[in-house]
Amino acid sequence: MRELLTPRVNGDDVQVLAPVHKTLLEVLREELGLTGTKHGCELGECGTCTVLLDGEPVLSCLLLPVECQGREILTVEGMAQAGRLHPLQQSFAELGAAQCGYCTPGILLAAKALLEHNPRPSREAIRVALAGNLCRCTGYTKILDAVELAAARQGR
């Protein structure tokens, strides 16, 4: 059984016919070719599949796209604007906050939502906002540094 889905993805109105049992993660990757959103545990434990739904971070591996009709979805592909990296992408690249990069898309989006609510977060607030995003490579220090740097630059 397929269904017609009509979410807004990265600012575009999308229409896609997809099997009803597919999660948002699978529809984004397999039906829409947006492979920036990563496939991790599929059980809600790693955060690498994070996308923003109406601006708030959610896990696309546990979301049915029927629940997203007409709502705004942002994936990592939508972060750069007019060929310019988002300040978070810039600071992650400069500080080497990604090693294998598998966790990076989810972390960028969770951090983006944080900075929108709280433009000058404390280190502890960054830690808490990223509590649901696991990284097996970096040890987190550079990730926290990069979020701080992006916040400082945006604040200027």
Binding site: T23, E42, L43, G44, G47, T50, L53, E56, P57, V58, L59, L62, L63, L64, V66, E67, A110, S122, E124, A125, R127, V128, A129, A131, G132, N133
Partner: protein
């Protein structure tokens, strides 16, 4: 409602899906029909005030509960418990209704199908014995909701809606001490809302033990609510989470508090008695005798917090968002 009735045991309701979908993926649940509640407007929203009592729609997300100004100020234990559930992403999706109906957990059950098959299925799904307590006639999987013990301690009531109409029950009457039939409601009844009584001087707190400070299910939860007149306790509720298949009230310990002043000596005695009904088994994270011992420690710390006595270092396992904000405000 009619869908639930028509499909009987083949149907399940889904709210945020943060418990149900992982369980379906591990084939712990195999419903043929899913009834999504998210489209039902009437089940959302948080209303009321500390003076007249509050109503939490079943679909209110844990994020909404943990950040609601009236709840933060007047029911801070509930805000803290909701804030300590899982991760920011999951709290944006997971609901308070789903949290009180959360499936019980066990190390032998929350595993993939292949894992469970390899070790031999247990009676909670696909098998007929209990792997934790082989002599046990029932499943002893663990109630793992963070908000349920707090709601219990606050005297919350639950409005259930079913095919035959609706009824309001005290929250404790929603539960049974059985790892499989852990809810005492009919399968086609849904939780529509949770009602909190007026605060009326009740002060409560919640302490959670988990392995990681970032996120983990509770392996022990302690909710304490006290109503005092001057120095004297008029009413006390101590409710333990994650020590049985339902939240467990430490009734004997509560009696010791009635009419007494909260001295450090009394707190130690109460904590010892409160730990008696805590009988964790070897089926969650962290060793069970440590969890048992921590019951006494956490009850004492919760009571000390309410008494305004020092509680020692704040455990990293309790570093939630609200706490981070408090630190910043200081």
């Amino acid at each position: 409602m009619s869908l639930l009735q028509e499909h009987g045991p083949d149907a399940m309701v889904v709210a945020g899906g943060t418990d149900l979908f992982p369980n379906m993926k591990r084939r712990q649940f195999e419903p043929r029909v899913l009834v999504g509640l998210r489209g039902v407007r009437e089940l959302g929203g948080i209303r009321g005030s500390a003076r007249e009592g509050m109503t939490l729609g079943a679909l209110a997300t844990l994020t909404q509960v943990s950040l609601h100004p009236e709840i933060l100020t007047h029911y801070p234990a509930l805000a803290r418990a909701a804030d300590l559930v899982s991760t920011p992403q999951l709290r944006n999706m997971g609901t308070i209704g789903g949290n009180v109906c959360l499936d019980t957990r066990c190390n032998y059950y929350n595993q993939s199908y292949a894992w469970r098959k390899a070790i031999g299925f247990c009676m909670k799904k696909d098998g007929d014995i209990c792997l934790v307590a082989p002599g046990s006639p029932r499943c002893v999987a663990v109630s793992s909701s963070d908000t349920a013990p707090v709601l219990w301690s606050l005297g919350a009531r639950v409005r259930l809606v079913g095919p035959d109409g609706e009824r309001v029950i005290p929250l404790p009457a929603l539960y049974r001490d059985d790892g499989i039939q852990y809810l005492a409601k009919a399968p086609e009844e849904i939780v529509a809302e949770i009602a909190l009584p007026p605060v009326d001087g009740l002060r409560a707190t919640y302490w959670k033990l988990r392995r990681r400070g970032s996120f983990d299910f509770p392996v022990l939860g302690v909710a304490v609510a006290l109503r005092r007149e001057g120095e004297v306790c008029r009413e006390a509720r101590i409710v333990l989470g994650a020590v049985a298949s339902q939240p467990r009230e430490a009734v004997e310990a509560e009696r010791l508090l009635a009419g007494e002043r909260l001295t450090p000596e009394l707190i130690d005695r109460v904590a010892e008695v409160a730990a008696r009904p805590s009988k964790p088994l070897d089926n969650t994270d962290l060793v069970y005798y440590y969890r048992k011992r921590m019951t006494r420690v956490y009850v004492a710390r919760a009571l000390r917090e309410l008494a305004g006595l020092p509680v020692g270092d704040w455990p990293t396992a309790m570093a939630g968002r609200n706490h981070a904000n408090d630190e910043e405000a200081r």
